[in-house]
Symmetry: C2
Subunit: 307 residues, 2 copies
């Protein structure tokens, strides 16, 4: 099968948490996604950076075998985001957003990227997501993310995107806002009536749900005594989830469940340190071990429990 | 082994949710606990009611084979609680509490109840919990619940209770307040250093955690598209959990995991309707089916996921 393509943002983040502060570190939805996915498969990255983007970051992405030929360098500054978290570590408060070169980003998909095996549309303007889809041969699987800002300002365009997407990944508050329904299971069913075949609901420290017609699968968050910086957890989850699916091509119910565990594992690395430093030192063996630990976390033999 | 004994409150609840209102319906921690546990084992109930307690409620408890000989009737009115929930359905706002006969409740444990197999100390004054323990032969398992009110007003006494308890069941906000730690896993470890061998952390729609030294088990909440009234969910969870343990006497890791699923199942019934009506129509077969559905909800075969 073809490779995994991601279109999204690459940013320089300044993040404050109760445990410290990091200034102008590597961030962005496409960054976390492709680094996480790179542990499972080869990733092609399409995004935009400014002239000030540090060469070391480019080298790092290449070292993860991420194809950065589609990472367009344009005159001006790289997208910057500044945010902070309280002790609750659940939702970031945005202190400053400077779109810079991202403001006029109109992804042009070069010929060699137009028929990926799987496509992830990171959290960008739904109109850009549509324009990417219009330039593509239909991949085996299209997944997308979004956020409250687009749900509020471009809902009709987002609903158009949904018609052409197999898998929607959202966090629970976004899903509630999109559907107008507080109950996450009804909200998931609402989405299933609008295009996607499945919804992945990300719930931070409470794990994630995979909602498909008539069935639901639950994966917990890996139990961590230290959560340092939640930035990028959701995109890292998406990277693990789609990276695993692209690696195996297995879209069976069992394959999707394994992919959910891979997502939860990559999310757990992302939150351990600032930026993408949580992935430092992750090896195929340590990754395999953490995946296996999810068995202990959820396994229960229910045969003959009562009766 | 001996029976399951619960000491707690029996109340008449008036509850308002976005979906309706119920006036002076059967409630209280010991009520939800014993009704839920009655699907697994015989329960002895120790609590206090006033002269106004409806005979029909007593008859209902008896119909569930709950031993109500220890349900003391005293001059005055039954404990009343009035609360309401918003759409979020997570935490009740108390509108009115009238302790009535509960105010002077000093549980005297009659001889035939002093050596139960397992004991659940419902959410009552920690001093009363201690006085119950002082009247007992040490049961095989002692579990207790508490709430923010006691954590704030009687923490030293609550810490005394913990020294004599095997299993603490709390919801996550209570656990955070008790330990002074936002991280639920560190908070769980804090409790394990103060007496209990395990902590069950109830997280409402996000399920529950069983934290033991060096290991954690996670059970999701049963996916419900309609949650009507969360009152009693936690006590029903405790009833399913301890009811199953009392039925089997199996305190192995696997037995505790099955008990967690039984807890989650009974919680899911409790929230479906007002008061204890969510249990109407539950049969051994429907119960068995719902337990089995948890397999589908969490099962994943991780052998050879990567590597």
């Amino acid at each position: 099968m073809g490779k995994l393509l991601v279109v999204g943002s690459v940013a320089l983040d300044t993040v404050r948490t109760p445990f410290g502060e990091a200034t102008e570190v590597l961030g962005g939805s496409a960054t976390f996604f492709s680094v996480a996915a790179s542990y499972f498969t080869n990733v092609d990255l399409i995004a935009v950076i400014g002239e000030d983007f540090p060469e070391a970051h480019l080298e790092f992405l290449k070292s993860r075998h991420i194809d950065v030929a589609g990472l367009e360098k344009r005159p001006g500054q790289t997208f910057r985001w500044k945010g902070e978290y309280t002790y609750q570590l659940n939702e970031a408060r945005t202190l400053d957003t400077r779109l810079n070169v991202f403001e006029t980003f109109r992804p042009k998909i070069a010929a060699q990227y137009r028929s990926p095996g799987m496509l992830f549309l990171g959290n960008i303007d739904p109109e850009l997501q549509l324009s990417v889809l219009n330039q593509m041969e239909r991949p085996k699987l299209v997944a997308c993310d979004s956020m409250n800002y687009w749900i509020e300002s471009k809902k009709p365009q987002l609903l158009e995107v949904l018609k052409r997407v197999d898998t929607l990944l959202l966090n629970d508050s976004e899903l509630r806002e999109l559907s107008g329904d507080w109950n996450v299971h009804r909200a998931g069913r609402w989405v299933l009536g609008r295009g996607p075949r499945r919804v992945v609901v990300k719930r931070g420290e409470y794990g994630a749900l995979l909602i498909e017609p008539g069935k639901t699968f639950f994966v917990p968050a890996f139990p961590l005594e230290e959560v340092f910086d939640p930035t990028g957890a959701g995109d890292s989850f998406a990277g693990g989830f789609l990276g695993y699916l692209a690696r195996t091509g297995d879209l069976s119910s069992e394959g999707l469940r394994r992919a959910m565990v891979c997502g939860a594992v990559m999310g757990s690395y992302a939150v351990a340190k600032f930026s993408i430093s949580g992935f430092d030192g992750v090896t195929p063996l340590s990754l395999q071990q953490r995946i296996a630990e999810f068995h202990e976390l959820t396994h229960v033999d229910l045969a003959g429990t009562i009766g």
